[in-house]
Symmetry: C2
Subunit: 341 residues, 2 copies
DNA sequence: TTGTAGGCGTTATCAT
DNA sequence: ATGATAACGCCTACAA
């Protein structure tokens, strides 16, 4: 099996075709105007015969272009990220780039390691990062070294790179308005640790602003560990007690939280929307199947990926422009969980 | 911004440290026994100062090792694949490899293109493929060229490469046994086009064998287009008519089909398990939330990824062994949709 | 302990 | 229309 014949090189092709490697190189790069019809055919034949493919590393070494784009996501297993990656991949491939995907698991240290290893050795020509938010300095530094960087979904503290997100602020307000208009008198904000995650921060701000709460005196903010189901249940019960039978709804900051809340609601045997309303980020294919249907916000993750990829390629090709924030519109899907009647 | 200073090379480091590139190279590869404490420190200082990183392409060119593993999946956006990729990524990174992920969208042509472009230019050292099943020849050929290939989840017609899947055959039988034991008298097999997809084929075989049906006379096999919701509804109604009020259940070949069936069941206003039972592949985090809970089979996708990665790295490192089929155990999660009481 | 020189496979410059 | 040759940045005999 596995024939150990070394891969053919441009030299072998040259020898077999009885021309110099220069000519082969020209052939490979489509510069046919520099050779006779006959030579061209002969080379073609030899190339096919040997099944020759130019070595990318030699090419990259020479040209300083790898055709590789680095993608750093926080959690590839989440629907949001995997669709994001799909969008990135589709566009990149269309444009002749391949992507190297790395997964940080929301761990800033891993993020640092990947960033450094990706750009370190000239490996990638550009970077699309869904950052933990804890490495602004490093990103900044890499940016200064000249590598194009695009932020996907999550922004940095300062707008230093092109950033593709969705309309977190306005859509959160829209959703809250919808909930209030539906008759809910109290709305809690359920979130994972906010930290430096820009999406969560923005949504939280929108929540505070909408209800005109002061940052630290907002009554119904629950920052929880979604793996601690008991904690989630307690939070829900606490919220319900405090609202004292008045119509109350939960706004979930993202899909992970929504799911945890849903699970706890089921465990507590509560009825939506009568006992508790629910609305929040991340729409799923099954959102209609869980009674009474879950009102949720659908993010344009595929499009975010596509835009990010377009932008990074534009930068690679030399686009000079001030860093820009691009907000793609998301969609509110109203379903039973917020229909109070 | 973007300082255009060229990246430092080993030469510059050598000059600044006032030693030869050889010594620098030794330093970079940790061969400290060949230099004095002092030289070593001096070099370290210069490296830090220049923020020097060796160029991977030059290294790869020289060593013929890229540290890259190609991953070809059929649908990165599906939970199954994204978790698979996560498993692959985690293991590869632990072992110092990066992965290039490509997404075929179940398109054999794209699959061919990616395979060729990945191995073509020496780009990757090994390949993990979740194949459409339509490119056995090409895979075979690439294998003969000497590149390690591992198949993840889906096998080829002949066992030519290490293949990591799960126990499709036995688990399908288990699940069917469970359904029958629960009192369902008829079980239909709902599937997407089977084609050359080995997972689907195996599950189908298990179904036929279990009920001792002849391939073409099995009464309740529905091969459908899951995007055609009307088609799915019709299939369900057809099945129910034919079973004439006797307890009947659907076995769904994968998560996409399960979801389509669930949606149709809801649209038809059927009650599970009374009007129809459901059981099938792919367990989700939300399977308990859709009443009465969906009985399903949880595949070890993360582990499949990890095993595939281990294996491909072992092959890269020179492991010679007959191709092996590794079946990882999956788990049947029994819930309300098959509890006839 | 350190250095010299040649080569990995391509491409680009300058000849012919 | 075609070739010789020198890079690209790194590694590794072989020397010293």
């Amino acid at each position: 099996m596995t024939s150990k014949r070394r891969k053919p090189t441009i030299d072998m092709v040259a020898r077999q075709s009885e021309v110099s490697k220069t000519t082969i190189s020209r052939f490979l790069n489509g510069k046919y105007e520099y050779m006779s019809e006959e030579t061209r055919n002969r080379i073609q034949r030899v190339v096919d015969e040997l099944n020759y493919r130019p070595n990318n590393f030699a090419r990259s070494l020479k040209s300083n272009r790898s055709g590789l784009i680095g993608v750093v996501v926080a959690d590839i297993a989440s629907p949001f990220s995997s669709i994001l990656v799909k969008g990135i991949g589709d566009l990149c491939n269309e444009r002749g780039y391949q992507i190297i995907t790395t997964n940080t698991d929301e761990d800033p240290q891993k993020e640092r390691d990947y960033l450094e290893s990706l750009v370190g050795g000239e490996m990638v020509e550009g970077l699309i990062v869904n950052t933990t938010g804890m490495n602004d300095d490093l990103l900044s530094q890499l940016g200064h070294q000249g590598i194009p960087i695009i932020l996907a979904d999550r922004a940095m503290e300062h707008l230093e790179f092109d950033t593709i997100t969705n309309d977190n602020y306005s859509m959160t307000r829209n959703a809250l308005k919808h909930v209030v208009d539906s008759g809910f008198e109290h709305v809690a904000f359920f979130t994972q640790q906010i930290g430096r995650n820009s999406a969560r921060r923005t949504r939280f701000e929108a929540y505070l602003d909408f209800f005109e709460f002061e940052p630290n005196t907002a009554p119904f903010v629950y920052e929880l560990d979604t793996n601690d189901s008991q904690g989630v249940r307690k939070a829900i019960e606490h919220f319900r007690q405090r609202t004292n039978g008045r119509p109350a709804a939960i706004f979930a900051v993202n899909g992970v939280v929504s799911l945890a809340v849903l699970r706890s609601i089921a465990e507590l045997g509560l009825h939506m929307p009568r006992d508790i309303g629910l609305c929040g980020y991340d729409d799923w294919e099954w959102a209609t199947l869980v009674p009474p249907g879950i009102t949720s916000i659908e993010q344009p993750s595929y499009e975010v990926g596509v835009e990010a990829a377009k932008r990074v390629i534009a930068r690679i090709k030399g686009l000079k422009a001030k860093p820009k924030l691009i907000e793609l519109p998301s969609t509110l899907r109203v379903r039973g969980s917020t229909k109070l009647k």
